[in-house]
């Protein structure tokens, strides 16, 4: 089956900066591709080219079988785009925003109105439908923006960092909404800085850095390469580190590594909080005192560390891994 989104050798330069450097992408029908990378990796540039907003310097792409460069108008009829910054009009109400988009899709007044109401309902925005968007929360704006991209029921959807800047609760709501869309058979290209997000939503992940794909595969494959979640323990009494190591080994999926100043242990695990609780109970029962303990999940920074041996260029970015510690050798 041919790919619904297909890109070959996409290249885009801005002066001396190469935003995209020969990127290839394939998204089969009703699949989700997660384009994962730090700020400035070229994710937005790729989306802008595929959605006809930008012309590449080289390369070609088709979306839903239509050539992006030759028939941009036809491509625009078939896609929905929701960008990093919610592109909704703040002074208009939620309803007015969607109605306007519907009419610009040339649905006709009556259908545009029906569609606006329908989408507001589906995205739990009915109560806020008559309020100007400037009164909306960040999560509500993003949902409205996403609703805007769905007005014409596109079969192909592009979401550029749909949850960047959202609080955790809004992010989870957004994930549920996106999941539901995908379950209905929409083909989706999603960009994100969060490994967790790509893991939750994407069938396949392409890790991108400096405009090039540096890894491809499903989330499990990627995590196998990077390492999944792990428990980190810092013990007070270095002499008893062997005992702590023994307890960790009962749950560890791989080798338990000593790090820090010889008082930190890291063990790859599965099972999340349940496993952590078990370890804590056993450590407590053995009377072992801890300085710190935590369950760490791999972040984008860990992925980069594993793939390139270097952290992301902008480790201070949210989700860029500023909060994670490197595990000692």
């Amino acid at each position: 089956m041919p790919a619904v989104i297909e890109a070959r050798g996409l290249t885009k330069r801005y002066g001396h900066v190469t935003a995209l450097d020969g990127l290839d992408l394939d998204v089969p029908s009703a699949q989700v591709l997660g384009l994962l990378g730090p700020n400035g990796a070229g994710k937005t540039t790729a989306v802008r080219i595929l959605t006809t907003l930008l012309r590449p310097d080289a390369g070609r792409a088709t979306v839903a079988g239509v050539d992006v460069l030759e028939q941009p108008e036809e491509v625009r009829r078939r896609i929905g785009l929701s960008g990093q910054y919610a592109a909704v009009d703040e002074t208009l109400t939620g309803y007015e925003n969607l109605e306007m988009i519907g009419r610009l899709y040339r649905l006709g007044r009556r259908r545009a109105r029906a569609r606006a109401s329908e989408l507001l309902e589906r995205f739990s925005l009915t109560d806020a439908a008559g309020r100007p968007v400037k009164t909306y929360s960040g999560g509500m704006r993003r949902r409205l923006d996403l609703a805007g991209s769905l007005v014409a029921e596109p079969s192909v959807l592009f979401l550029d960092e749909p949850t960047t800047g959202l609080d955790p609760r809004s992010r989870v709501t957004m994930w549920e909404v996106i999941r539901e869309l995908v379950d209905r058979g929409t083909t989706l290209l999603l960009t994100t800085q969060y490994l967790e997000e790509a893991d939750r939503l994407a069938d396949e992940i392409v890790v991108i850095d400096h405009g090039r794909a540096i890894a491809r595969g499903d989330a499990d494959a990627l995590k196998a390469e990077v390492g999944g979640e792990r428990i980190e323990v810092v013990v007070r009494d270095t002499d008893r580190i062997g005992e702590v190591g023994g307890i960790l080994e009962t749950v560890a999926l791989g080798q338990v590594v000593v790090g820090g100043q010889g008082n930190q242990l890291t063990a790859p695990v599965a099972g999340g909080p349940d496993t952590l609780m078990r370890v804590l109970r056993e450590l407590d029962a053995a009377g072992l005192e801890l300085l710190d303990v935590g369950l760490r999940r791999p972040t984008l920074d860990d992925v980069f560390l594993a793939l390139t041996g270097q952290p992301t260029d902008d480790a201070a970015e949210p989700g860029g891994g500023a909060a994670t510690e490197e595990v000692g050798p």
């Binding site: 959605t51 006809t52 910054y85 002074t91 610009l104």
Partner: protein, 267 residues
């Protein structure tokens, strides 16, 4: 529907959106309407009695100039509106829709005519209060208003182009100030162009702002046979010269703006 038909259909929807915004943020409208009142009053009372023009009441001379300057400044709204839409990513949304490529600009320039209509109305009332009178026929006067609006409409395409180029709303507000002030002052708007020194005088005589002002003055009957316009073609045929500029501006700036709109990168 034809391409032009769709451009009108889509432009109409964008214009409706802009009109809704005018109603939703009345503060903007208040400022739009206060500044012409301010200009009429300032000029009428600050300069009105200090600049004697033989055989003519300065206030009468002045009003057409203020009208011209104000409607040209009104074009800044077009540029600012476009720049704001760019900044907020709304242009990206529009560009990702299968809508007409000129619709956003067609809609914006059309809805901004409303601002100018309202400011002309307010200025007319203020002018009448300070003693300005239409001395000719009402039909001629309406023709004068119409010409002012048409010229301002063309100029708003220039500002739409600028709005697509600049990085922010602040830049366009400052930039337009730097451009519009000289263009509207080195003209016959506030003083007769004969009073200007050499090169400025030539500039003023060929400045389309002078022509539209002269045309409005004649339409309002605010001229004096004792003070004929300088013997240069633009000011002897102000309506034709104004329309010529309107044509040139539209022919150049509509395609230029539409092309820039298609390329415009989000910021």
């Amino acid at each position: 529907m034809s391409r032009i038909g769709w451009a009108v259909h889509d432009g109409h929807i964008v214009a409706l959106r802009n009109v809704r915004k005018i109603r939703r943020v009345p503060e903007v409208l208040v400022f739009v309407l206060i500044s012409p009142i301010m200009f009429v009053l300032l000029f009428a009372y600050v300069f009105g009695d200090s600049i004697p023009i033989a055989g003519l009441d300065y206030r009468e001379f002045l009003i057409a100039g203020i009208f011209a300057q104000t409607v040209i400044f009104g074009a800044t709204f077009t540029g600012a509106g476009i720049a704001e839409d760019m900044q907020k990513g709304i242009i990206d949304r529009f560009r990702s829709l299968p809508m007409s490529r000129s619709a956003v600009l067609v809609g914006r320039t059309a809805s901004d005519v409303i601002y100018n209509l309202l400011s002309i109305l307010i200025m007319t009332l203020t002018g009448l209060l300070v003693g300005w009178r239409i001395r000719g026929s009402l039909i001629d006067a309406l023709g004068g208003f119409l010409l002012l609006l048409v010229f301002a409409y063309a100029f708003s395409w220039v500002m739409a182009f600028v709005g697509l180029l600049v990085p922010s709303v602040e830049v366009i507000n400052n930039a337009s100030f730097i451009v519009i002030f000289p263009v509207t002052f080195i003209a016959n708007t506030f003083v007769p162009s004969e009073n200007l020194p050499g090169p400025l005088r030539t500039f003023a005589e060929w400045n389309p702002v002078s022509a539209v002002t002269q045309a409005a003055r004649e339409a309002f009957g605010n001229t004096n046979p004792a003070l004929p316009p300088p013997d240069v073609w633009p000011l002897r045929h102000p309506v034709a010269y104004t329309l010529l500029w309107v044509g040139i501006i539209l022919v150049v700036f509509i395609p230029l703006s539409v092309r820039q709109y298609q390329r415009a990168a989000a910021r």
